[in-house]
Symmetry: C2
Subunit: 313 residues, 2 copies
């Protein structure tokens, strides 16, 4: 099975209305809610593709119970660890008339030192059953800023390859612990390295310890810098829709490619197709199966020369 | 005790941030949540004034559990009836920089026919202990549109006077059942009667069955049309702040005046002072006790002639 870790799991609430009047009182027409956080989205996609998945991370309070109730009703195997704090909510206000969305992100719980120690023990019991681990998303307050380095070392001790989707300090402090793959987006990559060129920036992350780097560049597709070479991959069609969750779909595809030992061009084609199919679906963690199927053989994948020398000292 | 009924109880969530970017992703700085709905706000004020209060109504799901957990931590006596549907949330997005608030109101649960029948039985067991009943706020889907008429007849059967704060059909269908007092705001009053003049409109509601009518006119204070005459009452100072909950504070004061058999000018002075003190407090259901105390002797209350003949046929 593939184990996904979501340390700052969320209850994702969607409010549908025709138009939101800022500074007014707005009646919401319809409400949807589901478990969220990037790792949960990845697990939902893997599950929909028929791959055994286990969801872990930290949840607490009545919001945590709502998260777990939804995981159960979605059929996702839930091994979340309960904490005392109240899990965060996200509220997405979707305006049908404007075709646009306003997102509110609560800060989430503060995790206690003892809770973090218990989570490491808990993960230690799950890793022996995992073919790969996916570590995704922001860190809740209270966990160490190098939390992902701890989790990567634990995965390493069990011989489990790990995929990391994080940014800022959570990413930079984790590289030396050797993630098999990191998947920043363009902005995260530039922030992490100070380099505008994604290829140069991806090389820098590899030099810092990442096994492979696949950067998601929105409509420009993916750029991969790997031990086996460099590739650019891009969808044959530009799709309108909901970009939230497109990165999670890419992570799901890349993790499956890692576990299966697929050639890199195939992994990247699959990641681009699944990302595009996720953009076409209204909720993060969903994708359009017909579009996924139609696109996977049509993705442009081109190699490029990767001299592994970093241009900066 | 005073029994407050909140059929569409809510979990009121407040998101504090510096500025909300519509159609952007916004990190919330701080989150607060408490039980809400107009009847709960009234009960909170009565409780803060030291008067025994019992909260009833309908709550369901994990949001309902969060509502009840907060009622317990606030020390409010909770006799809510549990239903299968999920209680609604309201989200108030407070922008500290703009000094303004955007409110999102979820529609709330659909109440089953059997659940409504059980609520009538439940209320029947609570009314014998009540000195007055307060029926406040919107009706959840699934309850009959004349729900408040049912509750008023039940209160009447127990000899319990009832105060009604509702609008639209919920108000118009309830008048014939004889509420002791109704408290519409200016807009609700105009909508209910089609009359622009609050005094003429209040007389119309009395003619339709309300014992007394006190209309809240925002900064213009209160207008009362009662069996003992008519009064206008107004704060000596115009206060800036949060108008949500000011009407609930007026209802709390008017209900206490009803139970105590106070002279109308005293009831109205107290209602104006408590409303103004509620405007000065950041959350609905709270009030500024020092301001309440300072204002109560300084409210302008003036009688006016009430010829009880309705100008319209």
């Amino acid at each position: 099975m593939i184990l996904t870790v979501t340390l700052n799991a969320a209850l994702d609430i969607t409010h549908h209305l025709d138009r939101m009047r800022p500074h007014g009182s707005n009646r919401v027409r319809a409400v949807a809610q589901r478990a969220g956080g990037k790792g949960v989205n990845v697990a939902r996609i893997l599950h929909a593709l028929g791959h055994p998945t286990v969801v872990t991370g930290l949840t607490g309070g009545l919001t945590g119970r709502a998260i777990r109730a939804e995981l159960a009703s979605a059929g996702l195997a839930d091994r979340m660890l309960a904490i005392a704090g109240e899990s965060r909510r996200t509220v997405a206000v979707v305006e049908e008339d404007a075709g646009d969305t306003t997102i509110l992100l609560e800060p989430g719980p503060v995790v206690g030192v003892g809770e973090w120690a218990r989570f490491l023990d808990h993960l230690d019991t799950l890793l022996p059953h995992a073919a790969a681990a996916v570590l995704s998303g922001s860190l809740p307050r209270g966990v160490p800023e190098d939390a992902y380095a701890h989790l990567l070392r634990l995965a390493h001790a069990h011989g489990v390859p790990a995929v990391l989707d994080a940014d800022g300090t959570a990413l930079s402090t984790a590289l030396a612990a050797g993630p098999a793959l990191v998947k920043p987006n363009a902005e995260e990559l530039a922030t992490a390295t100070g380099l505008a060129d994604p290829v140069a920036a991806a090389r820098r992350l590899r030099a810092a310890g990442a096994g492979a780097v696949v950067a998601s560049l929105g409509a420009d597709g993916l750029v991969a810098v790997t031990p086996h070479g460099g590739w650019r991959a891009r969808s044959p069609e530009r799709l309108a829709g909901n970009p939230t969750g497109a990165g999670d779909a890419a992570v799901a595809a890349l993790t499956l490619g890692l576990v299966g030992g697929e050639p890199w061009p195939d992994r990247l084609a699959e990641a681009v197709a699944l990302s595009a199919a996720a953009v076409a679906a209204p909720l993060a963690g969903d994708f359009d199966p017909a579009l996924h199927h139609a696109l996977r053989s049509r993705v442009d994948v081109h190699p490029f020369a990767t001299e592994e020398s970093d241009p900066c000292p």
